[in-house]
């Protein structure tokens, strides 16, 4: 009996998933102005941030319960519409119930020079998130 129930429980966990791919090309880096770009939010759910020395990319998903926050330029914050979490430009939580900073996606240059974003690889720890695959050094000419 117990075995049968357990096997039924296992049955509910599928082995093959039909889910959208998590990486995409985001165009040429030169096309981005400094600051937060909302260009991909509606289609790929990311913000691409350009700083003076390079790029990083946020996954636009609140670390609280998974809603999509909005960027408010005047206040320099991301704010989530579901439970009111606030994040700053680095993704750190300033207010609201979110327990950890926003996730950053892996970012690199594809062979054709475009930005390549990988939402399957995420990082949000201060120190780690500003380097390696999660920060793309890019100096404007």
């Amino acid at each position: 009996m117990g075995g049968w129930l357990l096997s039924n429980l296992r049955y509910l966990f599928p082995n093959v998933l039909y889910e959208p791919t998590l990486s995409f090309k985001a165009g040429k880096p030169e096309d981005y102005p400094l600051g937060i770009s909302e260009k991909w939010k509606k289609t790929q759910r990311v913000w691409i941030v350009r700083k003076a020395d390079g790029f990083y990319c946020f996954w636009a998903r609140c670390t609280h319960l998974g809603c999509t926050p909005n960027w408010f330029d005047a206040e320099n914050r991301f704010k989530c519409p579901c439970h009111g979490s606030n994040f700053n430009k680095d993704g750190d939580v300033i207010a609201g119930p979110a327990p950890k900073p926003l996730w950053r996606c892996a970012i690199k240059r594809a062979d054709d020079g475009q930005l390549l974003i990988d939402k399957a690889r995420l990082e949000n720890r201060p120190g780690q998130r500003e380097q390696g695959d999660f920060f793309l050094t890019f100096k404007s000419a």
């Binding site: 599928p14 889910e19 509606k42 609280h64 809603c67 206040e75 750190d92």
Partner: protein, 603 residues
């Protein structure tokens, strides 16, 4: 022969067909009254005779029966809606649109389904409150109360699974949040505290619930099956048990003469259902069920509000980590409700509404029922708190889930820079521990030992010292870090070095900013000279509240014994603790008392 006219009615009644279906005639005799009830598969849920007072409308308000009737309406309208609905993400929203605009009377059916679901939630909750207030859960009906709580949970779960089906924005984001709560469950959730080592996003509780890692067709079909078949099936089983137990355990009110159920009860039920039907029809004709834009996995509406019955939970999620607000607290509420008949050993108050009276508790005048003051007060406090949270969620929350006064116009451009800070863990633990120590009683034996050792006044003094001490510790442990601790976020994201400065300059911690301005305006000497006595006063007040309840706690402990007492007091303290945390958040800008991010563990 001549005066016997041929009558169709008489003829039909004599046919074999008629006799095979109807076993009795319809004259109003005592015999047929009984026959109607026990000769009918549907009516034989009833006894044939019952006491007059038990079926008085103002005793039960017919709430249990109406819940069942609403379930039947939902089943019928639901079956009809299924004829036009296909559970696939590219079709579902279009099908709902078709139901609203292209199918004759489709909108009416959808409205009726939605509004009767809302009504059912209301009626089931009111039914529970009625059963509680009239003591109808007391022996021998404890088990049926437990079944009733399960039915309430299932009613809410049916509502939850139901509103994903239109595949609109409300649906998607409510399910996103719900599924993410599963991901935050302790041990089994990928993002929950102390997750087991083998748990990943691909095998955690969330994955099982939505059938994948993102919400898509797999989720829709899962919720469709749950909503249309699985949960209603289990619901039916439990309804059978519930109704059967009502018969077996008999009604809670047994006074008054016995009357025939047909027509006395059946007619009342008929009128009740008729009235409900009329209300539902009118409601469905004047008000359409909401349908937001088509689900978009990338964009959340701002603000994103759950249906009213989950807004209390949504508001709770603002103040606590998801594993507490979304998993632990609901579980505790359910367990707490189920435990009520087993920890309530007061046999009084069965079969009538409480009689309220003004009394004094210490120096506090209170309006309480004469016979079950504690039980009724605590239960109603819980119910009222839940509805206050729903009220806040409905009327006081605007864009970005920020606070707006009811009626205040919303602005998406309003500048609201909120700041929340954590109390350092050690101070926070001190607050939490001393808060829960408030629940400790002084058992009789300890009191006796004290009075033999140190004189007759010792127990009262010890109790006073204990409570005042705890109150003081709590006040000090809250204010000392607020006034002195360094801001842990400095210089990463905070311009200020101390918590006092950071919160004092913020707009969402009125108490701290008041203290901060005091110190700024009048200088530290005067400022602290005002603040320190205030802190003492708060400590004294907290202790005072403890002293007021001290005697009562001790009596409760003697009456319930250690295990039941611990359960009752822990649940009670957690309930008022929720209130405390809300106060800390809204007045002090405190986010966590204890924060261990490594384990995803925050309180």
């Amino acid at each position: 022969m001549a005066d016997e006219k041929f009558s169709v009615k008489q003829y039909v009644k004599k046919t074999k067909l008629w006799k095979s279906i109807f076993r009795h005639d319809f004259m109003d005799t005592p015999r047929t009254r009984l026959q109607r009830v026990f000769g009918n598969v549907f009516l034989h849920l009833h006894p044939v005779r019952t006491s007059k007072d038990a079926i008085r409308v103002t005793y039960t308000w017919g709430l249990g029966g109406l819940s069942f009737f609403l379930f039947l309406i939902l089943t019928v309208t639901g079956i009809l809606l299924m004829f036009y609905y296909r559970p696939a993400s590219i079709l579902a929203y279009q099908d709902i649109k078709d139901l609203s605009f292209a199918v004759t009377l489709g909108q009416l059916l959808r409205n009726m389904h939605r509004w009767s679901a809302h009504l059912m939630v209301v009626v089931v909750i009111l039914h529970m409150v009625r059963v509680f207030l009239t003591g109808a859960y007391k022996p021998p009906r404890e088990y049926n109360w437990v079944v009733g709580v399960l039915l309430l949970v299932m009613t809410l779960f049916l509502s939850y699974t139901g509103y994903l089906l239109p595949w609109d924005q409300l649906a998607l984001w409510a399910v996103t949040v719900g599924a993410q709560m599963a991901a935050n469950s302790p041990l089994l959730g990928n993002e929950g505290p102390f997750r087991l080592p083998f748990i990943t996003p691909f095998n955690d509780a969330r994955f099982g619930l939505i059938g994948g890692t993102v919400i898509n067709d797999a989720t829709l079909i899962r919720f469709y099956v749950l909503h249309c078949i699985a949960v209603p099936f289990i619901f039916c089983v439990f309804v059978c048990v519930h109704l059967w137990r009502v018969r077996k355990d008999s009604f809670s009110k047994q006074t008054g003469e016995k009357v025939d159920v047909w027509p006395h009860l059946v007619s009342r039920e008929f009128l009740g259902t008729l009235l409900t039907m009329v209300i539902l029809f009118v409601w469905s004709m004047v008000m359409n069920a909401p349908l937001e834009g088509q689900a978009n996995l990338n964009v959340t509406p701002n603000p994103s509000k759950a249906p009213w019955y989950f807004l209390g939970l949504q508001e709770l999620l603002v103040y606590f980590d998801p594993w507490i607000a979304g998993v632990v607290l609901p579980t505790l509420i359910i367990i707490g409700l189920m435990a009520i008949p087993y920890v309530d050993i007061n046999p009084k108050g069965v079969g009538y509404w409480p009689k309220m009276k003004w009394k004094r508790l210490g120096w506090l005048p209170v309006w309480v029922p004469e016979e079950r003051p504690f039980a009724v007060t605590v239960f109603m406090l819980g119910v009222i708190m839940w509805f206050v949270l729903i009220f806040i969620g409905t009327y006081c929350r605007g864009p970005n889930w920020e606070w707006y006064m009811p009626g205040e116009p919303w602005s998406y451009r309003r500048l609201t820079k909120l700041t929340l800070k954590n109390i350092p863990n050690l101070w926070g633990s001190l607050i939490l521990v001393s808060y829960f120590l408030f629940g400790s009683p002084i058992p009789k034996k300890v009191k006796e030992w004290l009075s033999t050792k140190m004189g007759s006044k010792a127990p009262a003094l010890v109790s006073a010292a204990l409570h005042i001490g705890l109150g003081m510790v709590m006040a000090v442990a809250l204010f000392v870090p607020l006034l002195t601790a360094a801001d842990a976020d400095f210089p990463m994201r905070s311009r200020y070095t101390t918590l006092f400065e950071a919160l004092g300059r913020s707009i969402n911690s009125p108490v701290v900013s008041w203290m901060y301005h005091l110190v700024q305006q009048f200088g530290p000497a005067v400022g602290y000279a005002i603040i320190i006595p205030m802190v003492g006063l708060i400590g004294l007040c907290l202790g005072g509240v403890g002293i007021v309840f001290a005697k009562f706690k001790d009596r409760l402990y003697e009456a319930l014994g250690p295990i039941k007492y611990a359960m009752v007091i822990a649940l009670l303290l957690m309930m008022t603790g929720v209130l405390g945390k809300i106060v800390l958040r809204l007045l002090f800008g405190v986010k966590y008392l204890i924060s261990l991010p490594v384990f995803n563990f925050n309180i």
